[in-house]
């Protein structure tokens, strides 16, 4: 009676979400950071709506990127520290399955939560409602891509005691295209021109990382377990 990969993924998802909700402060910390940064920005700028509107996409995406980075460190670390990762690696399920499930669970409580609160933030940054659809789609693709990139970084730094600085250095350069095209898409949507090009680029990055990152992260974990 072996357990299939799908069922194993559901179990890990269930377990990680349950753990997150029993420690809500860990889930809320990046979200609160995101909300604070984006609400402080308009207060620090001069009271010109046009200026705020010009800067809004950049502010929104930088805040989203940095707040996502905050929680990446714990992606595999908690499990590695208490021996759970070893047990998962010996569960008969491939490491790739485990990486996919854990990264998706992480994205649901970080990236997806951030996407959900982004309309509130967008109103504060004077982003017109007409640009919301593009912004939400862009952020969904962007945060998911970032989670996959983060999984590689977290896998590589899992054995280090203070890996979060190194993790940021590994992930941030790879995340630059996300920032450029994500903010670009939102910017175009605000000015009313077509954002399709930038969104396609984000989507292609998302597909690229979704297909390859689980293997890279699993290889990194394999080394860390050795």
């Amino acid at each position: 009676m072996n357990v299939g990969a799908w069922r194993a993924m559901m179990l890990i998802l269930n377990r990680d979400l349950r753990l997150s909700f029993r420690r809500p402060e860990q889930v809320l910390q990046p979200l609160v950071f995101f909300l604070i940064v984006t609400t402080l920005f308009p207060l620090g700028l001069s009271v010109q709506l046009s200026l705020l509107r010009d800067m809004a996409p950049g502010v929104l995406w930088v805040a989203a990127l940095l707040s996502s980075l905050l929680s990446l460190d714990s992606l595999f670390k908690n499990d590695a520290d208490d021996g759970t990762l070893e047990q998962l690696a010996l569960s008969g399920q491939g490491l790739v399955t485990i990486v996919i499930a854990k990264t998706l669970a992480h994205w649901l409580v970080s990236g997806a939560a951030l996407v959900l609160v982004s309309p509130v933030v967008a109103i504060g940054l004077a982003i017109p409602v007409s640009a919301f659809a593009t912004m939400l789609l862009g952020l969904t693709l962007g945060t998911l891509t970032l989670s996959w990139l983060g999984a590689i970084g977290a896998g590589l730094t899992v054995g280090l005691r203070r890996g979060n600085v190194l993790l940021s250095l590994i992930v941030l350069p790879l995340a630059m295209p996300l920032l450029i095209f994500g903010a670009g898409a939102t910017d175009r949507a605000i000015s009313g021109t077509s954002a399709a090009g930038a969104l396609y680029f984000l989507a292609s990055l998302c597909v690229f990382t979704t297909t390859l990152a689980p293997f890279a992260a699993a290889a990194a974990l394999r080394i860390a377990l050795d």
Binding site: V3, L11, R15, L19, D82, E86, A89
Partner: protein, 209 residues
């Protein structure tokens, strides 16, 4: 020596940790109904040997085989036959004992909650099933780990210092469970720095420091 086929075979394994030559050509064989007690001073490489046997650590030289098949070649088949307990408990403090078991055992085989409760009962922690693990004592956590090993229904037990933190009754229980497992046709590789008080036949292997 019994005549059954060799289950676990570790052959001439060498492991280096940086400059240190931790395992110098270690070989061991384990057949069904056998228990091998690996002893030795701290730092002798007992845990390293156990990690090599799980397949987590790949030796620089030598091989590990399970019923004649290299474990690197058929890892998932081997992994479904083994249950490993390291000195870390791998329990999540925020989950209850039962939830911990459900998620960990559930990755290997489908087990009904009633069966998991029964395993917790056999390990003597039935009353802790619905308590978060963070409120349990170190000894109770060890017993939850025992329940996880029981629930996995694996042929091969790989245990790293399973008697740590256990009281006299707990040690006796652990010994009894080990005996039952071995007498029932199972295999066990136990790392412990002190003597095991077991009725069952056991072999002992000493790792030099």
């Amino acid at each position: 020596m019994n005549s059954a086929a060799v289950g676990l075979c570790v052959d001439q394994v060498h492991v280096w940790r940086g400059d240190r030559h931790v395992l110098k050509g270690i070989s061991l064989e384990l057949r069904p109904r056998e228990l091998l007690h690996v002893a030795g001073p701290n730092g002798a490489g007992k845990t390293t040997l156990l990690r090599v046997a799980t397949g987590l650590l790949r030796p620089e030289q030598g091989s590990v085989a399970w019923f004649g098949k290299s474990i690197a070649r058929a890892p998932s088949e081997y992994q479904s036959a083994l249950a490993y307990a390291s000195h870390e408990t791998a329990l999540k403090g925020d989950l209850t004992a039962l939830e911990n078991l459900r998620f960990m055992v559930g990755m290997k085989r489908r087990a009904a909650p009633a069966e998991l409760r029964e395993c917790l009962g056999r390990a003597g922690v039935a009353g802790c099933a619905d308590l978060p693990v963070r409120v349990l004592s170190a000894g109770q956590r060890r017993r939850v780990v025992m329940a996880r090993i029981l629930a996995a229904r694996a042929v091969l037990w790989l245990l790293d210092e399973p008697f740590t933190n256990l009281d006299a009754a707990g040690s006796a229980l652990m010994s009894a469970l080990l005996e039952d497992h071995v007498n029932g046709g199972g295999m066990a590789l136990v790392v412990a720095h002190h003597d095991l008080k077991l009725q069952a036949t056991q072999r002992r292997m000493e790792l030099a420091g």
